[in-house]
């Protein structure tokens, strides 16, 4: 796994990226893909070729890991359709970090 992109500033982001890369590896393994590099700039649609039903599975994995502190469905429901198509792993990592920090603060 490579950490491409320059936006990884904190330990938090690195840890969350590692978590999410692990979840995506589980998903991709079902398609027989076990050596896909996942970084902050990786797109779910173009690079990983995930379909929306795969993202439902990812939502379940995120909930297992972070409980109700992170709500992936609500995050995507607030986006335009084109934004979802262009969604990167980095944007999800940033959302998870922000949600976890908000839960800590709250």
């Amino acid at each position: 796994m490579s950490l491409n992109g320059q936006r990884i500033g904190t330990v938090d982001e690195e840890a969350v990226l590692a978590d999410i890369a692990g979840m995506l590896a589980t998903l991709l393994d079902e398609y027989g893909l076990d050596d896909v590099e996942i970084g902050m700039d990786t797109t779910f649609n173009r690079d990983l070729e995930l379909e929306s039903i795969d993202l439902v599975t990812l939502a379940g994995l995120l909930e297992e890991k972070y409980g109700n502190r992170v709500n992936f469905a609500e995050f995507l429901a607030g986006m335009e359709f084109d934004e979802i198509i262009e969604l990167t792993v980095g944007r999800l990592v940033e959302h998870v970090v922000a949600s976890l920090k908000a839960a800590e603060a709250g």
Binding site: E51, S52, V56, A73, A77, F81, E83, I84, I85
Partner: protein, 276 residues
């Protein structure tokens, strides 16, 4: 994720979300997706979170052959799909009246369930959809015939055309649809479905909401639907076609929430993408 075994080797992928914390559940809604390229994801990432937040127990599932549900080779008539919905709600012990929501073919399934069990339907919302009539079956026969011809027999050319003229995403969905059409009797079964008589259609006395994209062929069904049903209102969303659910989910979801929560005036504002 929950996999619900409804018997006969069929396992339906189901997602159920409700209000957070101790907010009480005030209604149950069952959301049914469309054919071939569709799955429960079309609701999960659009209207479902806002429905749940408003106090609704939201049940979504993948139709047989679609999404993460099992794919038997046969059994794809409308009545088979209605049987599956009945069995699923039995397994989930959802006994009271439910608010049915269906997109495209999912609306035909939802309406068929309401016609079979009028006492179990609190309301029906049809998004880009219509009840099963002879005209509907004929139209589906044409559409599915073309899908079978283009994708099952000339798949490589068709996918190349879609990739060049639409998008890689659409092409990927089309490949999935081609697999479903090839591996099952869906394309033969749906047009051969038993359709409803006008009496059966007008026996659905609960409130019905029809939502159509202004640029969709289906919008012309709105006046007919209002005329044939005792309690029906239709809304045409300008500037959209058949994908109005995912493209204008704020507007569509707001109208459905107003129906479910019994409002008759302006739709509930919903924080969807298009509502901003």
């Amino acid at each position: 994720m929950a996999i619900v075994d409804i018997g006969a080797g069929l396992r339906l992928h189901t997602q159920r979300i409700g209000p957070r914390g101790d907010r009480p559940v005030t209604a149950t809604a069952v959301l049914v997706h469309g054919l071939l390229t569709d799955s429960l994801a079309s609701y999960y990432f659009t209207v479902a979170p806002a429905f749940a937040a408003s106090g609704i127990d939201v049940v979504m599932y993948d139709l047989r052959g679609h999404g993460r549900s099992t794919r038997p080779a046969t059994g794809y008539t409308l009545d088979d799909n209605i049987d599956d919905l009945e069995a699923l709600l039995d397994r989930l012990e959802v006994t009271g009246p439910v608010h049915l929501v269906g997109n495209s073919y999912g609306g035909t399934v939802a309406f068929g369930y309401a016609a079979r069990h009028p006492e179990r339907a609190a309301s029906v919302s049809l998004i880009e959809s219509e009840p099963a009539t002879a005209a509907w079956a004929g139209k589906l026969d044409g559409i599915l015939g073309r899908v079978m011809h283009e994708l099952a027999h000339n798949e490589a050319d068709a996918i190349a055309w879609i990739t060049a003229n639409r998008s890689q995403n659409t092409a990927r969905l089309a490949k999935g649809a081609a697999r479903l059409a090839r591996e099952t009797t869906l394309a033969q079964d749906i047009p051969a479905s038993r359709v409803l008589t006008e009496e059966e259609i007008s026996s659905v006395r609960c409130p019905v909401l029809g939502l159509y994209g202004g640029d969709s062929d289906l919008a012309e069904h709105a006046p007919w639907l209002e005329a044939v049903l005792p309690d029906c209102r239709t809304v045409v969303v300008p500037g959209h076609e058949h994908s109005v659910l995912v493209e204008a989910s704020g507007t569509v979801g707001g109208h459905i929430l107003s129906l479910i929560h019994g409002a008759t005036a302006a739709p509930v504002a919903l924080a969807g993408a298009d509502a901003r």
